[in-house]
């Protein structure tokens, strides 16, 4: 079924993708995970593939850092960002 996922892109990642946030509508089932979302986004083109699939790009689901196996559900908030540099 078609579902909404909020996706945020921060720092250099958002700049290079020319996108800070989007509300994505796509078909997801109960097995839809971060890996599947990354695959979907990487099909947008070379820069998306390079940055989203980069091993240094971090992913958070509902504000918790997670890995590719994390399931994504309807209305979840997903964020992609480079390694943090606060403090």
């Amino acid at each position: 079924m078609k579902s909404h996922i909020q996706i945020l892109y921060f720092a250099s990642l958002g700049e290079q993708l020319k996108c800070d946030e989007e509300n994505l509508t796509l078909d997801i089932d109960e097995n839809f995970n971060v890996r599947a979302l990354k695959q979907h986004l990487s099909e947008r083109g070379e820069i998306w593939q390079k940055l989203i699939l980069s091993s240094s790009t971090r992913c958070a689901v509902n504000q918790t850092i997670t890995n590719d196996d994390q399931i994504i559900k309807i209305n979840d908030e997903v964020a992609f960002f480079p390694p943090v540099t606060g403090g």
Partner: protein, 143 residues
């Protein structure tokens, strides 16, 4: 106690707020400031992930309280546009004995630097994360 804010903080005020009557034997504070990054365009910008930054800092603070015997903790991190020499981050810890305060303060800033979702931009360039920060954070991993 956590604050994410654009405005500056006063160390003297923050120090006073860590003190409790009778048993505050030790306080340790850390302040991080904007260093001169040697660019003509000295625009410094700090982005963060609203919501997640507070969540992560609260978790770090809670963990510090479980690992050490502490009286009070205070973490302040500024965001937005700053100048060279501006204060960026404050970590304050009070306890009965100094070992807890020293270790907890170092723990909080070491973990903040590798987990809290802030990103620094110097002029037009986003700062790269440092492996030395990961090394510092790793030393706090418990078995």
């Amino acid at each position: 106690m956590i604050s994410i804010q654009e405005h500056d903080f006063d160390i003297a005020d923050e120090y006073s707020s860590l003190l409790r009557k009778n048993n505050t034997g030790a306080t340790v504070t850390f302040v991080g400031r904007v260093r001169d990054f040697a660019q003509n365009d000295k625009q410094f910008y700090l982005q963060h992930y609203p919501g997640m930054t507070e969540k992560v800092l609260s978790e770090i603070e809670t963990t510090a309280h479980t690992r050490w015997s502490l009286i009070a903790t205070r973490i302040i991190h500024r965001v937005g546009h700053l100048q060279v020499d501006d204060q960026i981050v404050y970590v304050g810890v009070s306890s009965e004995h100094r070992k807890d305060a020293f270790q907890a303060c170092e723990y909080i800033i070491d973990i903040l630097k590798t987990q809290a979702p802030f990103w620094k931009k110097e002029g037009e360039r986003w700062v790269d994360a440092k492996t030395s920060d990961n090394t510092a954070a790793d030393k706090w991993l418990t078995d």
